[in-house]
């Protein structure tokens, strides 16, 4: 199949898309998800707010969320993006490959959190470093296969390349002892993966 045309991601879409896939989030997280620098991000957030696409939520910490108008505008832009890039068939194929990996990722997260003791699952207390290392080793193996899928997707829609960066970051931190980067933090491997899953669904206009 011919590679679809590629273009640079539009920051306006990136911000709406981040809030659509990751849910409402604060400034630091939007930056992490989109990879936009601070000044650029400020501009987009202000523009979108003026246009009524975003609203601030005064939670602690304060965050941003899509308004109904923002959701509608996002749906329009994301459908446009896929059509302009001529990437639907290509993304569909990659999504199928993603869906093969997804149950394995969830198995791994479960193995990280729970251990089988005499056939019964109990919480993994992370006392057994050898066990944790074995699980992380399998994460690394899965990550290599996930990287291949991500690379295909990025060739069609470059914004998907951000997942590669974020997943590698999470795995790197986890391997160097920051265990919360496996399943627990908002930048954890599982969280980023779940956003990637949601992103594919949203991009293709599918429901779960």
């Amino acid at each position: 199949m011919n590679r679809p045309r590629t273009g640079q991601p539009d920051p306006r879409l990136l911000v709406l898309h981040a809030l659509r896939c990751a849910g409402a989030c604060g400034l630091a997280r939007i930056r992490a998800v989109t990879g936009l620098d601070e000044s650029r991000l400020d501009f987009v957030l202000i523009d979108h707010t003026v246009d009524g696409l975003l609203a601030r939520v005064f939670d602690d910490p304060p965050c941003w969320r899509l308004t109904d108008a923002g959701r509608a505008e996002h749906a329009r832009l994301i459908a446009d993006e896929l059509m302009t890039a001529g990437a639907r068939a290509f993304v569909e194929e990659s999504f199928d490959r993603f869906l093969v990996l997804n149950p394995e990722l969830l198995d791994l997260c479960t193995a990280w959190q729970l251990r089988s003791v005499d056939g019964v699952m109990v919480a993994n207390d992370h006392d057994d470093a050898a066990y944790d290392a074995r699980v992380l080793d399998r994460f690394a193996d899965l990550d290599r296969r996930a990287a291949a899928v991500c690379a295909e997707l990025s060739a069609a829609l470059p914004r998907f390349g951000r997942y590669r960066v974020r997943l590698a970051e999470a795995l790197g931190l986890a391997s160097s002892g920051a265990l919360e980067y496996v399943t627990d933090s908002t930048a954890s491997y599982h969280t980023v993966w779940a956003e990637w899953h949601e992103d594919l669904l949203v991009t293709l206009g599918k429901s779960r």
Binding site: G23, D107, L114, V117, V122, T183, D184
Partner: protein
């Protein structure tokens, strides 16, 4: 036969070759319980298949003979239009790998198979080759199960659980029994005792007029096992008797999968119960009281980890109004008012109201809701779903895959056991048992209670005995 074994009480074989599931079926046969007719292709054949990429040459003839025997005994013909033989082709590894390997049901009922049968030619050679091509779909199914051993997900599971990649899986080919045949048919799973509490009473789920896959997949709403007693008293009595016999053999609680077809009870799988937490403690203590095991063995059966979990708070299910039951995904008990969206959960929590977040399933947008909720309930998903992973990461009691929870896409409303859920609805959930109860029933802080005290007392006696002996010697 080199590659194939009958499922019969005479088989003497190791789990390494026959697989754990088939060994269980042999045990059931020995105990005089009804098991659908069939045979096992050994794990050794799988090891050859994995090494050489195809079935061993001498397997084909054995396979044809085994199927012919099965056809003869059942009076049915594989691929025939009239009275077709329908079989299940199930994996059965030497070490259990739940859900990781392929299983094919209802083979022989597919249109593909019903087109092939031809009149048997006179020549023996032709007859053999005709039989072989007629049975080709069956051999393909065996190959598919063997090949699933090497799927990446299965490899990962083995790496995590210290299972050798070289074991391979046996394949069990059995005549199907149909839980959906008539109103005296159904399927279910049963524990000889309650795996949540250890109480000595059969516990499980039954699905009337359905096949067993519907029980496991959650495709239909199951009923508590005890309803079988009223509806099919003879089947119930037979099941209870079988559970007692199996317990006596294992000297432990047990778990079975069963189907009853036109009032006749069949067993499809058996294994020891594998209880955890408070249930493991109560089971061990009561087995001592029943004279089944010694105190010393009881102490060995409950690991320190389970003992720690015996102190996890539990819902008192005897006194609670249980609305639905799902899969416990993160242990603990939580009570609160219902929120059906993350926004609603955030608003209610900000007003100081404890919240149970109830969702069809979860997307990343629900994380805010998770963060403020006391507990989480989802209609879909299993113990390894995004919702379960996140709930555990936040330490929130969670119940997933709740069959009786229904969302109306048109108006966004949710009902559980036909009861409309509103922000005024008070629910209590138990993330160990998967119970979802109305209101705020009593919570047991040390559910193993007196059993745990007795267990710990034995433990102290024995360890002080041990130290006395140690000093003496």
């Amino acid at each position: 036969m080199r590659w194939i074994r009958a499922i019969s009480s005479q088989v003497e074989e190791t789990a390494e070759n026959l697989g754990g599931k088939a060994l269980g079926l042999v045990l059931l046969r020995r105990l005089g319980l009804r098991v659908p007719d069939g045979f096992v292709v050994t794990a050794e054949a799988c090891r050859v298949f994995l090494r050489e990429g195809r079935l061993p040459e001498s397997l084909h003839d054995e396979f044809t003979t085994a199927v012919a025997d099965l056809e003869h005994r059942t009076g049915r013909v594989f691929g025939a239009r009239e009275r077709p033989l329908a079989v299940s082709v199930r994996s059965g590894a030497p070490v259990s790998m739940p859900g990781m390997l392929t299983t094919i049901l209802d083979l022989g009922l597919t249109p593909e198979a019903t087109e092939t049968p031809e009149p048997v030619p006179a020549e023996t050679h032709d007859r053999a080759s005709a039989a072989r091509s007629r049975l080709r779909p069956l051999e393909r199914a065996v190959e598919a199960v063997f090949a699933s051993w090497d799927a990446p997900r299965a490899r990962t599971y083995r790496a995590l659980n210290d299972i050798s990649d070289g074991l391979g899986t046996a394949v069990i080919v059995q005549a199907m029994v149909f839980g959906n045949k008539d109103e005296h048919s159904g399927s279910g799973v049963a524990f000889s005792r309650d795996p949540n509490t250890g109480e000595n009473a059969p516990f499980g789920e039954v699905l009337f007029e359905h096949q067993g896959t519907d029980v496991v997949s959650g495709g239909a709403t199951t009923r508590p096992l005890r309803e079988l007693a009223g509806r099919e008293p003879a089947v119930w009595a037979e099941l209870c008797d079988a559970l007692r016999r199996i317990e006596r053999h294992y000297r432990d609680a047990c778990y079975v999968e069963f189907t009853y077809e036109a009032g006749e009870l069949w067993f499809l799988q058996v294994r020891p119960g594998r209880f955890g937490g408070a249930a493991a403690v109560r089971l061990a203590v009561e087995l001592v009281d029943e004279g089944v095991i010694e105190q010393r063995e009881a102490l060995l059966r409950v690991s320190p980890r389970h003992l720690r979990h015996a102190r996890t708070p539990r819902l008192d299910s005897a006194e609670a109004e249980i609305l639905a039951r799902g899969i416990g995904a993160c242990p603990g008990v939580a009570s609160g008012r219902v929120a059906t969206s993350p926004d609603e959960a955030a608003r209610m929590a900000a007003a100081g109201v404890p919240v149970i977040l109830v969702r069809p399933e979860t997307s990343p947008d629900d994380m805010r809701g998770f963060a403020v909720a006391a507990g989480i309930v989802t209609a879909r998903g299993g113990p390894a779903s995004h919702a379960a992973v996140v709930a555990r990461s936040m330490g929130r009691p969670a119940v997933v895959g709740v069959g009786g929870l229904v969302f109306d896409a048109a108006n966004g409303s949710a009902t559980i056991a036909d009861r409309l859920l509103t922000p005024d609805t008070l629910l209590t959930i138990d993330g160990t048992s998967g119970d979802v109860a109305a209101g705020s029933p009593r919570i047991l802080l040390t559910p193993a209670g007196t059993h745990l005290h007795r267990f710990l007392a034995w433990s102290e006696e024995i360890s002080s005995d041990g130290s006395t002996q140690g000093e003496g010697g």
